[in-house]
């Protein structure tokens, strides 16, 4: 097997591993004004949140929801 073919297989394997990890295992706590403990939120849910500008970091480094109640319809940027 040549160097290029090895790189191709490695890239595909790496991509698949990252995708599966992000989709099924990667979870981060997201806090809101009414919740100090934080909700464990999957990465796919985080993708949806960032697509509407629904997350920010506070000064402590915690992930905070930018809204309460109904989510915004679209990202403000």
């Amino acid at each position: 097997m040549s160097k290029k073919q090895t790189i191709t297989i490695f890239l595909l394997g790496l991509g698949l591993s990252m995708f599966l990890y992000g989709f099924s295992m990667h979870v981060l706590p997201v806090y809101s004004e009414n919740n100090d403990k934080g909700f464990a939120t999957s990465e796919s849910a985080l993708v949806k949140e960032v697509s509407i500008g629904g997350l920010k970091r506070d000064t402590d480094g915690k992930l905070l929801k930018t809204y309460t109640g109904a989510p915004p319809k679209a990202c403000p940027t």
Binding site: S2, K4, Q5, I7, T8, L11, L12, L14, G15, L16, S17, M18, F19, L20, Y21, G22, F23, H26, L28, E43, S44, A45, L46, V47, K48, V50, S51, I52, G53, L55, K56, R57, G61, L63, A74, C75, T77
Partner: protein, 285 residues
């Protein structure tokens, strides 16, 4: 004349209908079933703020995750899978923003050539506006990709302005920078071919970079090439397929595979890897 593979024969049948393939993919990206699946990224450049967006834009997601100091496993993983499999064939056949520019290119006016070196600005855009600026300055920065992206303007701001105008509400005009960007973009797509894809698209930078490693590949039968230069004429994006068929500035429209002797063919990296020429050539006059 080189024997054509079955894949190449299929591609040659499909080539005259490339525009319709791109239009067909709009049914995937424009959310006709109103599913709004923004928990998943698409592999194309289509703003997630657009009212007609099935999936999230991978570039927007990477930039937002960078601004929040998180690693986007889903977006990067998806792009590695797609880029590692197809390379920039996504740009040539699937991307709706590419289709928009291809449609503008149908207008019969004189076009300017884009120098190849300008393609490196795509990497500046990728590492600057998508990764570093969001990471260090956050999404409030004026250079954050979504704030300067023409797709966002066309797919979100324009529908918002039109809706407000129809309803008789005050029109939400974008700032002067965005208006300037969109005016330049709209002018550019009529005076040159695919300016965004070839000069600034950060997604195109990723796909283009992986052209040399992707499973789907271009095969050049170097020993059979007559150096007629027809492939260069066929490439409307200013490429030199006879010099190197899998370079990062290739959008893989596959038009060059129509060259007479058939020395350029679609293939897989397991067949094509040994066929790249080793020295630079120039076409015969």
């Amino acid at each position: 004349m080189v024997n054509k593979s079955k894949l190449q024969q299929f591609i040659l049948k499909l080539l005259p209908h490339r525009l319709w393939v791109q239009v067909g993919f709009l049914l995937v990206w424009l959310d006709p079933l109103a599913m709004r699946m923004h928990t998943m990224c698409s592999p194309v450049f289509h703003c997630y703020a657009c009212p007609l967006a099935t999936f999230a834009c991978p570039i927007g997601v990477i930039a937002q995750f960078s601004a929040l100091h998180m690693f986007p496993f889903i977006a990067i993983g998806l792009l590695l899978i797609v880029a590692g499999t197809l390379g920039s064939i996504i740009c040539g056949w699937v991307c709706p923003f590419g289709l928009l520019q291809d449609l503008a290119a149908k207008v019969p006016i004189k076009r300017f050539k884009i120098p190849r070196w300008m393609g490196y600005f795509r990497y500046v855009m990728l590492f600057g506006a998508v990764i570093l600026v969001p990471y260090f300055f956050g999404e409030e920065s004026a250079l954050f990709i979504c704030r300067i992206c023409p797709a966002g303007f066309l797919e979100k701001a324009v529908p918002d302005m039109a809706t407000a105008a129809v309803k008789g509400n005050p029109i939400p005009w974008p700032n002067a920078i965005k208006i300037t960007i969109i005016v330049v973009f709209l002018a550019a797509i009529f005076v040159t071919i695919r300016p965004w894809c070839r000069i600034l698209c950060p997604l195109g930078a990723i796909f283009g970079f992986f052209n040399r490693f992707s499973f789907f590949s271009m095969k050049l039968e170097d020993h059979s090439c007559t150096q007629c230069g027809k492939c260069r004429t066929l490439c409307q994006y200013g490429g030199t397929p006879d010099k190197a068929a899998n370079t990062d500035n290739c959008l893989r429209c596959l038009e060059c595979t129509k060259c007479g002797p058939g020395v350029l063919q679609t293939s897989t990296i397991f067949e094509a890897e040994t066929e790249e020429p080793t020295k630079e050539k120039s076409p015969k006059e």
